[in-house]
Subunit: 173 residues, 2 copies
DNA sequence: AACAAATACTTAATATGTTAATGAGATTTT
DNA sequence: AAAATCTCATTAACATATTAAGTATTTGTT
């Protein structure tokens, strides 16, 4: 990390007047109770994801693929053909982003799009043989790295983590 | 979610020839053992983060701030003055992105930048009074939402999650 | 002191994230 | 059936993510 900073802001400029000592003590107590910047679950989720992705980035970069592009290829390899909307939900990518990702993957010859015959609004997407080959090349290496990652954590903890994340994912604001 | 898709791709076009039944059985077994798309830790971390952020987005959007801008303000409120590099590491934002974020926050009057006197390369960043006021307005509402989030999970699970995430963050690829 | 190497930040180029608006096609309502 | 409504995908506009390259400043070497 980096050297610990020196000063704090207790954000209490509108406090009532007290004796200086009491005020300082009060502010100190308030500060200790305050949730610290690094105690944020969303931030820790972000950092944890960052660490995990660092295991795979080099391989994907070498293959000329982005994280998101690989996520799309991976999903299509499993589900054969998907609507754009399904793909977006599976991959956790918003529709406007997905449109661009699909365009680029299509122009690289990695996937095909066709319109649904029943509902002309829907777009059906599937991998080309070229992309299936690419998947077979990359998948073992990436699975190996996934193993390197998960082997550093006990099976129990890994399952705990999976369950806790599922619980969070299913919360509703 | 959405209706479960129908077909699967077992990605084994290069297999040796077998009796059809045996082959189908073999592929089925292989498929069952295969790690599924949704079993990915990085993806679940992404989705979990997405769920948690949905608690706060409306408030931030109403205030005209992005997630990243709020992260920067929050860090600066706690550490008073930080170098760009420290801010980047704390907030998990890469330097090139941070440059733009700082530019926009500065032009909105939310923060000040000055060059370090000892090391002219370093940029020191701090909040304006305006931003400190903004923080005091938003912070309670956001903390309230944070409470709504964490109250749906037991304290034990919450601590477990924090520990597991810390463990992951400290892994090295 | 002069030079190479390292550091902090910025710029550039491309891809994606995010919200709002649009357009085309299906559904519902009257 | 025509109008209003809804849905899916795309476009638009801006912010951020990512990698590479560039600039200025500092540090290390000789």
């Amino acid at each position: 990390m980096f050297a610990e900073p020196k000063k704090y802001n207790t954000a209490t400029t509108a406090d009532t007047q007290e004796h200086e000592a009491d005020q300082a003590e009060s502010l100190q107590r308030k500060f200790d109770q305050m949730r610290k910047f690094n105690d944020s679950i969303p931030l820790k989720l972000l950092k944890a994801r960052e660490t995990t992705m660092s295991f795979f980035r080099p391989i994907l970069q070498e293959a000329g693929l982005t994280e998101q592009q690989w996520r799309v290829i991976r999903a299509l390899n499993e589900y054969e053909e998907l609507e754009s909307k399904q793909l977006a939900e599976l991959c956790c990518i918003l529709s406007p982003s997905l449109t661009g990702i699909i365009n680029r993957l299509e122009s690289q010859g990695h996937l095909k799009r066709r319109k649904s015959t029943e509902d002309q609004r829907r777009v059906l997407i599937s991998l080309t043989d070229q992309a299936k080959e690419l998947f077979k090349e990359l998948s073992p290496r990436l699975e190996g790295r996934y193993g390197d990652l998960t082997n550093q954590i006990s099976k129990e903890k890994l399952q705990q983590l999976n369950e806790l994340l599922s619980e969070i994912i299913n919360l509703e604001p």
